[in-house]
């Protein structure tokens, strides 16, 4: 944490005492808040064993939470791959010197970055179910994956574009000098380097994908949040099951964000980013 040394000196005896006192006051306030929360939950009967016991049984996990989690991970993983492909294609388009390609890619990328993902999902969900292109029961899944791909693919396209712009000019010149076309130089020399430099930002985007897959709840996609709600309605412990779902998401995303900062540390020690 480089920021912390910016704002204050190594404290002297007086400041140390003041910090200690404030530290204890702060800790007491937060412990008080937590105690108040627990007391309130207890008073409302939300901490009774009956409300939580169901999570100690295997059937809740094997019938609801794990299948939901698998759907979440599945839709997120597929969306990550398709977003990368989408981003690669439109990133190339935005870097293209062909006016028409450049123009089309700019409109596509700017449009899908400005439109809420939920709107795309709702639209795709109803239209896919009506169109008969997919089985009606599969339309939430396709709506989630396509919606996530269009938005996050556009973000990836922008990442690739800014990554390529950040590269030294000599990379492209060297590519041209050994006889590659501009497209070849982009796809074999510049974009691989841009992707490496942008890897931490890419991983952060994967967190967005994982989180946004929970939007599927709204269009009846049987992902983690949707299944947890079912558990909550079935056992009248909605509070507890949503807490469990949130905890699973937090753990997964926290791990991904740690991976992003690890990768970014590795890259900076290699002098890439």
């Amino acid at each position: 944490m480089s920021t912390q040394s910016v704002l204050f000196d190594a404290p002297g005896p007086k400041a140390r005492r003041r910090i200690l006192i404030l530290n204890i006051i702060g800790a007491l306030i937060f412990l008080g808040l937590i105690a108040y929360l627990i007391y309130g939950l207890y008073g409302a009967g939300q901490l009774t064993p009956e409300k939580w016991n169901v999570f100690a049984t295997g059937s809740v996990w094997t019938n609801f939470i794990l299948p939901g989690l698998i759907k979440t991970l599945q839709s997120a993983a597929i969306s990550i791959v398709t977003s990368l492909i989408f981003g690669f294609i439109f990133g190339m388009g935005r870097l293209s010197h062909n006016k028409f390609l450049n123009w089309i890619s700019t409109i596509v990328v700017e449009f899908f970055r400005a439109v809420p993902v939920l709107l795309m999902m709702l639209f795709l969900w109803i239209m896919l179910a009506n169109s008969g292109w997919v089985q009606p029961q599969d339309s939430p899944f396709f709506a989630v994956v396509i919606g996530l791909t269009l938005y996050n693919g556009s973000v990836v396209a922008e990442l690739i574009r800014s990554g390529v712009h950040g590269l030294p000019k000599g990379q492209r010149e060297a590519g041209i000098a050994i006889g590659l076309t501009r497209t070849q130089s982009l796809s074999f020399i510049e974009i691989p380097q841009a992707l490496t430099a942008m890897l931490p930002a890419l991983i952060s985007q994967f967190i967005v994908i994982l989180k946004d897959s929970a939007l599927g709840y709204i269009i009846n996609f049987n992902e983690l949040l949707f299944m947890s709600k079912l558990v909550g309605t079935g056992n009248s412990n909605t509070f507890q099951s949503l807490v469990i779902a949130a905890a699973i998401f937090i753990i997964l995303n926290f791990a991904l964000s740690k991976l992003a900062s690890y990768v970014s540390g590795r890259l900076s020690s290699r002098g890439i980013a």
Partner: protein, 226 residues
């Protein structure tokens, strides 16, 4: 085309009303989360370990929770289980719970945006502030944060844009806003589905793209000359 125009006759007023709800959600959640995010950012850069730990825990928890869960929590748990009544008006109650949910979620992002702005302030500024005898809070208030906000315009603008788009998630919190209306409209008028989507999508483009341009312009205009 006629079918599309008849749609406006039927739904025009409700479209405007619903989109106005999204803009109101944006306005209130922006104000509250900006204040909350600033407080969290101050906590995270302060010399007091317990405040730092609280700030870090808050950011890690709420940045990693899907907004959909927070919104569903508002309506299913805060209202459904704990019978939270901020307002006696049924719809207004959901609206206010949604504002709280959006604010709690985006405060974590504003905090991180402001913290990244603090990183742009050169060390010499803080040293100079200390040299003229300012302690932590006056230094933060008079020297560091004014520069940090100007350095954080682009990340804060990105959070604002995300917030505008995320107001549609209030649908999960039972708020009558534009994405719910769009769903109803497409269900009733599937023949016009694509145009309905395009209309609502363009309403967001019209709001979001100028804000993006404004943010870029502001970030250049307000950049701290160094």
């Amino acid at each position: 085309m006629e079918g599309y125009l008849s749609l406006w006759d039927e739904y025009g007023a409700r479209i405007m009303e619903s989109f106005w709800a999204n803009l109101q959600l944006t306005f209130w959640a922006f104000l509250i989360s900006l204040v909350l995010g600033t407080l969290l950012a101050i906590m995270r850069i302060s010399p007091i370990p317990s405040l730092r730990a609280f700030g870090t825990a808050y950011v890690n928890i709420f940045r990693n929770t899907p907004l959909t869960i927070i919104m569903a929590f508002g309506v299913l748990v805060l209202f459904g289980v704990f019978k939270l009544q901020i307002s006696s008006d049924f719809n207004l109650n959901f609206f206010q719970i949604a504002i709280i949910g959006l604010s709690i979620y985006h405060a974590a992002f504003f905090c991180e945006a402001i913290r990244s702005g603090v990183n742009t302030v050169p060390l010499g500024q803080a040293e100079a502030a200390r040299a003229i005898g300012l302690s932590f809070l006056p230094a933060a208030q008079l020297v560091i944060l004014p520069q940090a906000f100007r350095g954080a315009i682009v990340p804060m603008g990105n959070v604002l844009i995300a917030l505008i788009k995320n107001t549609t998630v209030a649908l999960a919190g039972s708020v009558a806003e534009i994405s719910g209306l769009m769903k109803t409209m497409i269900e009733f008028r599937a023949d016009q589905g694509f145009l309905i989507f395009l209309t609502v999508a363009l309403m967001f483009v019209v709001i979001v793209v100028p804000i993006g341009l404004l943010v870029t312009w502001l970030s250049k205009k307000l950049a701290v000359a160094r």
